[in-house]
Assembly symmetry: C2
Homo-oligomer: 370 residues x 2
């Protein structure tokens, strides 16, 4: 392989594609990025076996070929090269030499080891969906934090995307909280369908989509693909029956409070300082008409109590939450005013923006024995 490529284009393409590389690799070669030179372009490919990122950039190819090079060192080096052009020349798959001006660096490759080929998505047999502008960014911000972190239910580590009934819906749940966001999307599917994306695939897709107006994704039963400019993300979808989470969303609430977001967030943040230091401490919310009282008691640290005014309807109520989870949802909300609804001391509560939002978060309270 021998080629000449622009330093800035290569640095950018490496920075984007090598994000697919996982810090923990089952195989050494998965720490690598594959460079393939053919026709007048250089193709980059990196994967963690679940998600693949690829880039295609113009290059003057003198001799076609390919090699896998260590992703981190190559990206760091190319990022720091001082010249406008870089030549890359490989000796088989053993090593490649980068020449820049009169200087050079040689990186060892992985020899005969190749990056595993990633499953191909046949676009002509896949479904194309134009996503609403900013949808992937919203999902990243408002939905992904509710994904499960542990491995006990792998499917819950992903976010579910649903199409049908004139809507696009994204949701994620870890079993004790649920985030859901939706958009009208009239042109699709009479029978609803679901796809569970790995959280990392959503993040990387949102990053690739960037400010792209209405990015198109292709969906097959097992794969999803997004292409933006010279970059392409392909990800396996998670397999299995995602739980019917809609059933946990209360249909009726006993209490509805309209409350200023900044005031509630400030109170929860301060009282949470007491609660969060002590892993056993919960955040208590007491509703009295026109008022929410936020409090926490920590054996070690002390206690705090704040009141926040609200416009509310419904009964008095005393309910306990995980302080981290409450902060997470308050950070994911925007706007001046939010609506907090309680369905009872042991029933899920709902948080949403007051003005025409299509985002809601359902949070299970902590159990109270007495």
């Amino acid at each position: 392989m021998k080629l000449l490529v622009e330093q800035s284009a290569l640095a950018h393409a490496l920075a984007q594609t090598t994000r697919a590389v996982s810090p923990q690799n089952a195989l050494p070669v998965l720490a690598g990025v594959e460079l393939s030179a053919r026709d007048n372009s250089l193709h980059l490919y990196a994967t963690d076996l679940t998600t693949a990122l690829e880039a295609e950039l113009p290059a003057e190819v003198v001799e076609p070929g390919q090699i896998v090079l260590p992703a981190g060192p190559l990206t760091d080096l190319v990022h720091r090269l001082p010249t406008a052009l870089v030549s890359i020349e490989s000796e088989g798959a053993t090593r490649a030499t980068l020449r820049y001006g009169r200087n050079q660096a040689t990186l060892n490759g992985y020899g005969e080891e190749r990056l595993p080929e990633f499953a191909q998505l046949a676009r002509d047999q896949a479904m194309a969906v134009r996503l609403p502008a900013g949808a992937l960014a919203d999902v990243t911000r408002q939905v992904l934090f509710a994904c499960a972190r542990d491995e006990t239910r792998p499917l819950l580590r992903g976010a579910v995307m649903e199409l049908g009934e004139g809507r696009l819906v994204w949701a994620a749940t870890d079993g004790s909280r649920l985030s859901q966001v939706w958009w009208p999307l009239p042109d699709h599917l009479e029978t609803p369908a679901r796809w569970v994306w790995p959280a990392k695939a959503v993040q990387e897709a949102a990053r690739l989509a960037g400010s792209e107006e209405e990015p198109t994704i292709w969906l097959s039963p097992h794969l999803v693909q997004l292409a933006v400019g010279a970059f392409r993300l392909t990800s396996r979808l998670l397999e299995g029956q995602y739980p019917e989470y809609q059933r946990v969303i209360p249909q009726q609430y006993l209490v509805q409070c309209h409350v200023e977001l900044a005031a509630l967030r400030g109170a929860v943040e301060r009282v949470g300082l007491i609660a969060q230091r002590d892993r056993t401490t919960s955040l208590r919310i007491v509703h009295e008409p026109g008022m929410l009282e936020i409090s926490a008691v920590s054996q070690d640290l002390g206690h705090a109590v704040e009141t926040v005014e609200c416009r509310s309807e419904g009964q008095s109520l005393d309910i306990l939450f995980n302080p981290h989870f409450i902060m997470d949802v308050l950070k994911s909300l925007t706007g001046e005013e939010i609506v907090v609804e309680f369905a009872g001391t042991q029933s899920p509560a709902r948080f949403r923006e007051a003005s025409g939002s299509t985002y809601q978060h359902i949070l299970l309270p902590l159990r109270q024995l007495v």
Copy 2:
């Protein structure tokens, strides 16, 4: 204790003083900050037993008294308070309640445990020295990185300050490198004297001095003190005989190179990428008249070689350095051009700025058996 204080002043004072608290504490109470209310002021005090930071801020004291509160939670909480005024009321040394508007938080204190009293510096028996503007900041940037990190020679973990012969000199060495910076300071001492500051004391003093024109420090044989506005730092000095480091500075050099700093730094940074991944790899510098060749070979990763033009005098030479140490000194230098001097393959090299600098760095090469 009962008092009323401005939130912004208290938040700032806590942020400054609680920097004295060490993350690892021998005694639980050392994680605390002491609040003492007397007359019309609130006094804050925190220490790691080596360095103490204090602040004095105006307060409306209703009832004098004092209490030690956990530094981290108190600082975090006060930083987030929404009101202009905060009242603090303690119940003995057991706990204190902060009230802000109609809300409140109570933090547990350390009971009868008190912060150890810090040695007092008697200013009338101490020597006052007006430091040149920016001196402490320069020492932080150009000298402290050469301090030892390990515990084998505790004195080398500090920086030595010398007064005498019309100069103020600061230096630090870890045994394989030495940084030294000096200023003319005509008014002091006929017999030279030395004080070894803990590195943390220099850092905190530089931070306190900030943009203060010519900060005054007070020196006793065992203590140093700096006061800026409402803040005061007092630190123990390190005891012992600091090595006579001047003897390791070569008086004569075989090679002198004038080289563009940015060009050399770029080359060392790129070649260093190869060397730094592999802890056994060194950075090789070869001098030929008019040229420095920088190279590294890593068994695992590959190899790199760059040349940098220079104006040089002296013989050809081949010398090995620790790649991290070379990068450290190149980061500490400023200006367009630097001077690099070699005294031989096994002798210390010197790095300094080309134009009228009073900073120099001496770096011992790695040994070469063959």
